[in-house]
């Protein structure tokens, strides 16, 4: 390291990894991980989300897990809460859809309308 810029590059990279400790994230993603969710493949969805986030260098987003949401046949389910506190719930999420959620919704700000779970 020879310049302040070198130092800041290390700083940015380390901050991204440490962002998982922040609670002030703009987006909060939660993956339903009840028995039903895990049986339907929620673990692979979780891995895909974390992998895609790290590939894309997504910051300001926290990932957590939650229990069964009560719609077991719609699992795996993923909820994305934005800064406006609005929560979008996705159903029957595959690892591919999960990657799109990161790319289009979290980074692009566009909800994946056809994958949104409709309660009615």
């Amino acid at each position: 390291m020879k310049t302040l810029a070198d130092l800041r590059a290390i700083k940015e990279k380390a901050k991204q990894e440490m962002a998982a400790r922040e609670q002030s994230a703009t987006y909060r993603i939660s993956v339903a991980m009840g028995t039903c969710g895990i049986a339907a493949g929620a673990r692979n969805v979780m891995s895909a989300i974390l992998d895609e986030m790290s590939k894309r260098g997504v910051q300001d987003t926290s990932v957590s897990q939650t229990g069964c949401l009560g719609y077991c046949d719609q699992e795996p389910m993923v909820q994305v809460t934005g800064a406006d506190k609005n929560t979008i719930t996705y159903g029957k999420v595959t690892p591919e859809i999960a990657r799109s959620i990161i790319a289009d919704h979290v980074q692009g700000g566009k909800v994946l309308t056809e994958n949104v779970f409709n309660m009615s």
Partner: protein
């Protein structure tokens, strides 16, 4: 990338309570549950929670678990990490609410605590230079080396009003300017980590929790005074601090933050660790220098002071761990920011270690000027068992005695000096009203008698004779005139001993004789009556 970070406090206290085996179990069981790529285990310094066993924090959930044993690990993993449910049985909730920090650049607050020196302790992994850098680490060094002249650095430290945190509270910037003014082919920076004052363990926890901030402070000091070599003189018993420091030095070297031509500025600095062998006197700066030179640890005649003639006869700055840990923050945020904390004559914060009869013992950092009452009752949660407050000793075994009448005295250098006490090393011993003062004093003097290096008669003989007198009183053979004799001897030592050890040793004795003379008298008279009967 990980969804959860589990921070496990790894300091000498938690390790003694099994933190290492809990960490291993955690890693092993996360592996078995195929969660190791989702949940990261991070070792960190003290979280400031004591006597509560092994402590973990789960982020981003911000859930604290205390008293965690190996057999609890599988439950935490199954419940918290797989099902997302908090294990209430182990949850620890007595965390002072972190206040919302509105002001830009303000130091984080935890109730009445303000963290400058300890801002990273329990937050980052002390074995990772990247995490230190993520929290503004080495930014002050980069700024100073590329944008500031050495004199600017000294000026900023002078303006901050920072005073040495080893106990003498000498203005740090002034000390630096003395060494900077010396013409010499070689100068040295020494970090005094020979923390030998009983009840003091702040330097250990700073080094265990955030070793890089001390290294950064030393390089900055070197740049300011024109020194290229540093030594950390550290107690040999501080195994973990030594290991973490050595690891941090290696990382800093690998990143070009120690060694030749740092930040392409033409300035070079390197440092080495020197282990002490357990002598209390080696915390005295000239005895420390003698010890680094390989000689017997005995104090030197002063003047000349180390900034003029120090290690191997060269200009040398000796600064305490906590003093150096303040430096990067002061240079990064400026002296005005620093002066906004504490009082006019005692700016900044002070790290204290609270021990004795107190509900919540441990390590705290508070702004200067806080009262003893706030420290003991608000932060320390008072005295156990509803007992009354008898006395507090501020600053380690050589510290002055504070009583009930001092509870609302602001803890600053100047206010304590007025009553003949001092902040000292920052150890605060709280004593409740069940304790026997005369036995307490005998205990202090026993320590000095053992640790006196023997160089001067007043300290060597003085402590020995004081101990004899105290033992005589405690064994029921005391005489009332012994009290005057002790006072006379103590005053002589204060005025005539060669170094700080012999000069400061009588302080607590005189304090106890002043405030609790009745306890001594009662003990002597009770024994006399019993003998007569």
């Amino acid at each position: 990338m990980h969804r959860n970070h589990v921070l496990i406090a790894m300091d000498a206290h938690t390790i003694a309570q099994g933190a290492r085996s809990v960490r291993d179990a955690l890693k092993r069981e996360l592996e078995m549950a195929s969660l190791s790529n989702e949940v990261k285990v991070v070792e960190t310094g003290s979280l400031g929670i004591y006597n509560k066993g092994v402590v973990l924090v789960v982020f981003p959930d911000d859930v604290y678990y205390a008293g965690v044993k190996i057999e609890d690990v599988s439950e935490i993993i199954a419940e918290h990490f797989i099902k997302g449910r908090v294990v209430e049985r182990l949850r620890y909730t007595d965390i002072p609410e972190a206040e919302e920090v509105k002001e830009v650049g303000a130091a984080p607050r935890f109730g009445k605590q303000v963290r400058v020196v300890l801002k990273n302790a329990g937050v980052i992994d002390p074995e990772s230079i990247d995490e230190y850098i993520a929290h503004d680490g080495y930014e002050a060094l980069g700024k100073a080396l590329t944008e500031m002249k050495p004199d600017d650095v000294i000026d900023e430290v002078k303006k901050s009003g920072l005073q040495g945190r080893g106990g003498a509270f000498f203005p740090t910037g002034l000390k630096w300017s003395f060494a900077a003014a010396e013409e010499s082919d070689q100068k040295y920076i020494i970090c005094n980590a020979d923390e030998g004052e009983p009840g003091t363990f702040k330097d250990r926890l700073i080094l265990e929790g955030d070793p890089h901030c001390v290294i950064e402070g030393m390089v900055l000091a070197g740049y300011a005074v024109g020194a290229t070599q540093g030594y950390v003189y550290i107690r040999g018993e501080y195994r973990m601090s030594i290991d973490r420091l050595n690891r941090a030095i290696k990382q800093a070297r690998a990143n070009g933050l120690l060694g030749e031509n740092i930040f392409d500025s033409g300035f070079s600095f390197d440092l080495e660790v020197r282990e002490g062998a357990g002598a209390y006197i080696c915390g005295e700066e000239t005895a420390l220098i003698e010890s680094i030179e390989g000689k017997r640890g005995e104090p030197r005649d002063k003047p000349p002071f180390p900034p003029s003639v120090g290690l191997w006869g060269k200009p040398t700055i000796v600064n305490n761990v906590e003093t150096l840990a303040n430096i990067p923050q002061i240079l990064l945020r400026g002296s005005d920011w620093y002066r906004a904390m504490g009082t006019e004559k005692s700016p900044g914060t002070k790290v204290f270690t609270m021990v004795g009869n107190i509900n919540n013992p441990g390590l705290i950092e508070v702004p200067m000027g806080i009262t003893l009452r706030e420290i003991i009752y608000d932060i320390g949660h008072g005295i156990p068992g509803g007992k009354g407050f008898k006395l507090a000793q501020m600053g380690g075994t050589t510290g002055g005695i504070l009583t009930e009448e001092h509870l609302d005295l602001p803890m600053t250098v100047e206010s304590l000096r007025e009553i003949g006490a001092g902040l000292g090393s920052g150890a605060l011993l709280v004593v409740d009203d069940r304790q026997d003062v005369v036995e307490l004093v005998e205990n202090f003097v026993e320590f000095f008698d053992h640790e006196s290096c023997g160089k001067c008669t007043l300290c060597r003989e003085g402590n020995g004779r004081l101990l004899e007198l105290l033992r005589r009183i405690n064994n029921g053979k005391g005489r009332l005139q012994d009290l005057d004799l002790m006072e006379d001897l103590a005053m002589t030592m204060m005025k005539g001993a060669f170094c700080g050890l012999g000069q400061a040793a009588p302080i607590p004795i005189l304090g106890c004789l002043k405030y609790f003379r009745d306890d001594f008298v009662k003990k002597i008279e009770t024994a006399e009556t019993a003998l007569a009967a």
